[in-house]
Amino acid sequence: MSANELSFKIINDDTLLINSGRVIDNNNAHEMVDTISTAQKKGYKNIILDMSQMEFISSAGVGSILGTIESSREAGGDIIICNASDNILHIFRVLDLTDYLTIKNNTAEALDHCKTGT
């Protein structure tokens, strides 16, 4: 699996959208952790992970989300996953994380969640 570049979009002072790219695996999961942690330290309490391009996420990739979500939730925000394909959603289902994580169908729903918490 080759590494991929993350891209970002500032939604507002509280919310950052990260396009997570094609792959999060053991080779680049640390980059995801660093990126999310940096965003949290800068005050973005909501992190939207747009997984529209994602084709593969390894256990380390899932771990990068689990390892950083607490900070967002303690700050009154969340890490919101959106636009994930059936295969990626299957990974979250296999790990029984679909109730634990905040997963939305699309970016609009993710943004709504950031505004309203639903």
């Binding site: 080759s2 084709e55 390894s58 771990g63 689990l66 059936d86 295969n87 990974i91 790990l95």
Partner: protein
């Protein structure tokens, strides 16, 4: 047969890949690539069956063309070839021109690559070699016409086990592991053999507590949970005091039984 690159700008892919036909193909390709600029056209009409060797030479041809900054065009690509390239995430690397009457994405045949019942590889424990082996494994799986979901699960299983071996066994021995598969009836049997310390993955708990995982910032173990939930059976054997043999079984959703 020599290919006159001056009067022809199309190279045919051999219907059957042999040492001679493969060598001729690459000699002709290199002759064309060394000529004047412009796209390289590969005629795929002779590929009645798409084998892993065909995919391999197309992949290598693409690398050769990319090295010379030449576009590569696949002409008269069959549905099977298109599907194989899409499933292996290689379709974007080529300019694909479907054969007439075969629009992109329309699939009418069940079998893709000519099925091979067995696959085995000695895999050095590096990221690059594991990725290369995974591509070969996907080529092998494409021959069974299984669903994208099952293929994705098997890809994930392979990656997670291989990566665990790279992280844990690599530190101990720094060498390789052996990966073997065989298809029996309607299931795929995968075997990972390594010479690291004794480790029985069947003993790892099968559940994930997200709160506990977060509290402990769980770094590992998720991969084995994923594997266990994606396969039908797992067994482990420590052999001769020095070999770990992990055997996984996965039922395939195929319309024919393996021979």
């Amino acid at each position: 047969m020599p290919f006159d690159a001056k009067t022809n700008d199309i190279i045919p892919v051999p219907g059957e890949i042999t040492n001679d036909s493969g060598r001729d193909f690459f000699e002709n390709l290199k002759t064309l690539v060394s000529g004047s600029g412009g796209p390289i056209n590969i005629d795929c009409s002779a590929m009645k069956m798409v084998t892993s060797n065909h995919v391999s030479i197309l992949w290598q041809a693409r690398d050769i063309c990319a090295g010379a900054n030449r576009e590569i065009h696949l002409l008269s690509a069959s549905q099977n070839l298109i599907r194989v390239l899409k499933m292996m995430d290689l379709a974007d690397l080529f300019n694909i021109h479907p054969a007439e009457g075969n629009p992109m994405g329309e699939i009418t045949q069940t079998f893709l690559l000519a099925p091979q019942n067995n696959f085995s590889a000695d895999i050095d424990l590096s990221v690059e070699n594991i990725n290369r082996a995974m591509i070969k494994f996907l080529e092998y799986l494409a021959g069974f016409g299984i669903s994208e979901r099952i293929t994705f699960e098997l890809q994930t299983v392979f990656y997670e086990i291989a990566t665990n071996l790279r992280i844990h066994v690599g530190r101990q021995c720094g060498n390789s592991f052996k990966f073997m598969t065989t298809c029996a009836s309607d299931k795929l049997i995968m075997r990972f053999v390594d010479s690291g310390h004794s480790f029985d993955p069947t003993k790892v708990p099968n559940h994930l507590n997200p709160d506990m995982a977060i509290m402990t910032k769980q770094q590992g173990g998720l991969g084995l949970i994923m594997v266990k939930r994606m396969i039908d059976r797992m067994s482990y054997e420590r052999k001769n005091g020095c070999l770990n043999i992990l055997t996984l079984e996965k039922k395939l959703d195929i319309s024919h039984e393996c021979q």
